[in-house]
């Protein structure tokens, strides 16, 4: 076992004892018991595992633990809680923008990154930002509506 890796997760300093090539996704889910990021493909294709690293969206299933040493990771849990929702979470609930919900954490994290760099995106810009995120239930239009609601209601 190599030396433990130090990083920030949702504003908290954590030390993880795992191999440096461990996918960040497994560290978040298994070592830190964070449910938000999901395993969808393990190939960076579907977006279900998306988290922010220093504010940028990354696919945590293809991001090695060593690549985030000393950096700041934000997961869905870092945005808000059931008692203190982030505006995007509030908007997704208001629009009932989920069926199975498995892709939704990745959608919300990608939308967070979008709104951070573009506070008032047009609808087409929202669709393009989410183009590499897959949803199978067909909830796309509600997801777009939820992001628009978050923009509107701030």
């Amino acid at each position: 076992m190599t030396a433990p890796t130090k990083l920030q997760v949702n504003g908290r300093a954590v030390t993880v004892a795992a191999e440096p090539d461990t996918p960040l996704l497994y560290v978040l889910r298994n070592d830190l018991a964070l449910n938000g990021a999901k395993f969808g493909c393990g190939l960076g294709q579907c977006g279900a595992c998306t988290v922010l690293v220093d504010g940028q969206p990354v696919r945590s299933c293809v991001t090695d633990l060593s690549a985030v040493a000393g950096r700041s990771v934000t997961t869905l849990e870092g945005l808000g809680t059931a008692d203190n929702l982030h505006k995007l979470q509030r908007a997704f609930i208001a629009e009932q923008a989920a069926q199975c919900g498995y892709c939704i954490p990745g959608m919300i994290m990608e939308a967070k990154a979008l709104l951070d760099r573009m506070p008032e995106p047009a609808e087409a810009e929202i669709r393009n930002a989410l183009a590499d995120h897959l949803c199978r239930c067909g909830t796309h239009n509600r997801i777009v509506a939820a992001v628009q609601r978050a923009v509107r209601e701030g």
Binding site: F92, C103, A124, L134
Partner: protein, 731 residues
Amino acid sequence: MRETLTRRGLGQAAAGLTLLFSLAPAGAQPRLPGSLQTNRRLDAWLRIEPGGVVTVCTGKVEIGQGAVTALLQIAAEELDVAPSRIRMVSGDTALTPDEGFTAGSQSMEQGGTALRFAAAEARAILLDLAAARLGAPAAALAVEDGSIRAPGGAATSYWEVAQAASFAREATGRVAPKPAAQHRIVGTSHPRLDIPAKVTGGAIYVQDMRPPGMLFGRVARPPSYEAKLLSVDLDAVRALPGVVAVVRDGRFLGVVAEREEQAVKARKALREAARWEVPAALPDPARLHESLRALRTDDSVPSEKRADAPPAVRRFQATYTKRYFAHASIGPSAALAVYAADGGSVQVWSHTQGPFPLQRDLVRVLGLPADKVRVSHAQNAGCYGHNGADDAALDAALLARAVPGRPVMLQWMRDDEFQWEPYNPAMEMRLTAGVAADGRIVDWGHEVWSNHHNNRPQNPREGSNLLASWHLERPHPPVYPRATPQPNGAGDRNAVPLYDFPNQRVVNHLIPEMPVRVSALRTLGAYANVFALESFLEEIAAALGEDPIAFRLRHLPDPRGRAVIEAAAKLAAEEPGDLPRGFGFAKYKNVAAYVACVAEVALDRATGAVRVPRVWAAVDAGQVITPDGLRNQIEGGIIQAVSWTVKEDVPFDPQGILAKDWNDYPILTFPEVPRIRTVLLNRPEAPPLGAGEASQAPVCAAIGNGLARALGRPLRALPYTADRVKAAMVG
């Protein structure tokens, strides 16, 4: 049912409860509504708990469509309690009624009807108890949120009057539920119970379970269905870091490790350590339909009508086909399993649609007594039918058996799901019609060739349809079901026209042998049959120079069907456009929701790519339980079916399935998703009808008819992927 109830009784006892169950055969008793017929005890459905809580049990499960929320609304409505007081227990072989599968858009009809009558009867029982306590007639009592008030002001509550034995009896089904006009909770868009956890990272999916001491499992499947294992070196895999067990049973291979990434690495090593012989066992993909038609068929005639009619003066015929498409769930199948330390019992948490049928197959394959296998539902990504969920449950149990006392979390990798899930079958439909001099269709023929569409775990006697059971040293034979009778049907679902043709003959050529593994995917055969039927109808209308909507209406006496057709046409007409449009209509299974769709089709002539920018839909799902949930289902079904129709085609060659990831099997993306407008035609006094599968077939037919307008001729072979459309344009 005797066997089921006995087993459930044992399961209850194992869970420490002491409820008694009627063991008499159901046939000897009065017919009860919905799933009450097969789960007749009131206390199987409802309990008044201390602290102002009501527990409601359902055998139906949440698969991302809001069924459990809708069932809660029904129970709250009939009981007159606030929805927040109800605790739902769902899909557990030790705790809930056996309602078979959550499938076929029947949760409201079966489970909802049962709960409606059970809750109405429970309320009446509680009011009788209150009447005795308050000294007032039950009919004079008022109930609000479980508080009961007599005319003089005396009050009590469900929680004061209920006793342990209050519901320890059979339902009679004789207490009438509320009329729709009195509904205050049913018919409103109650927020889904599961969404807050899903948007905040709450523990809600099976993968979120982390019991102490949990290990991680992975399976190493053969490279193809028929591959033979020549040799495998397990020792090298056992020596890898973190590996706790390597399992080989016949050609079933799997690993268990302390950490998930260790299990993934061990799986890779195990695959590399195995040598396989891979025979060419699948059809030539270029000759798929010929290959299937050459197989033996079990033929039946689900519908035949003969009546006097004017003679046909024009005859038409056409053949339509569709290829395989996949469930393609976003989350690969997963399960948590733990064997007792003595190896004598197992509990499995699974996202199965049928905890009870799965339990029965697990009992047989694992060789345990029936009361030693418990299946509990836990969610995963949407399944849309029979995906790998049940298979993963057996995989997890087989791996957990190697490490008794330690829970094993098993998740398939992406390629496991794409290569091994049972797809929606390839189909071929041959249609014929005769038209009389007055322009009416007087003779209709529809023949369909298909594998069975329901190969779920279900056989009560022998064999198994769980994937790993076929790969064990002592394999279980797969079970080939017989044709499912109409109106449900399977390959022949919706092959019987709703239109009124005086003479018709529908023939179902069921192909038992399945070279490619297939099973239930939303709509079963309805998607392709409606595509064929609605395309053929428009081809005939075009040949006769008739307006396609008027031509449909002329052959459709059903007033509710006519209303949705007219409503969809009107809705689309409000938003004109330049692109070609097509129309499609069906009443799902001829007994569930009516949907009519208009689809706008954009054809890129350079690439063959088909896009569907806008869809308009009209829906009659009977009484609407939750309008927002209904819209979500209809719109989701439209988007998924647009994806099937213009993007999806499972690639394979004679050696095996070639789909391993999302590059091999692309689905519709955000920029490609249509804008959708939906109008709901509510029928408050009509029974609620399932809607999760109602929109897929009509929208496919609408796209086909729109594309025919864009091309100037019909394209009768699905799917409309760019390469296939391009080839058809050139050819």
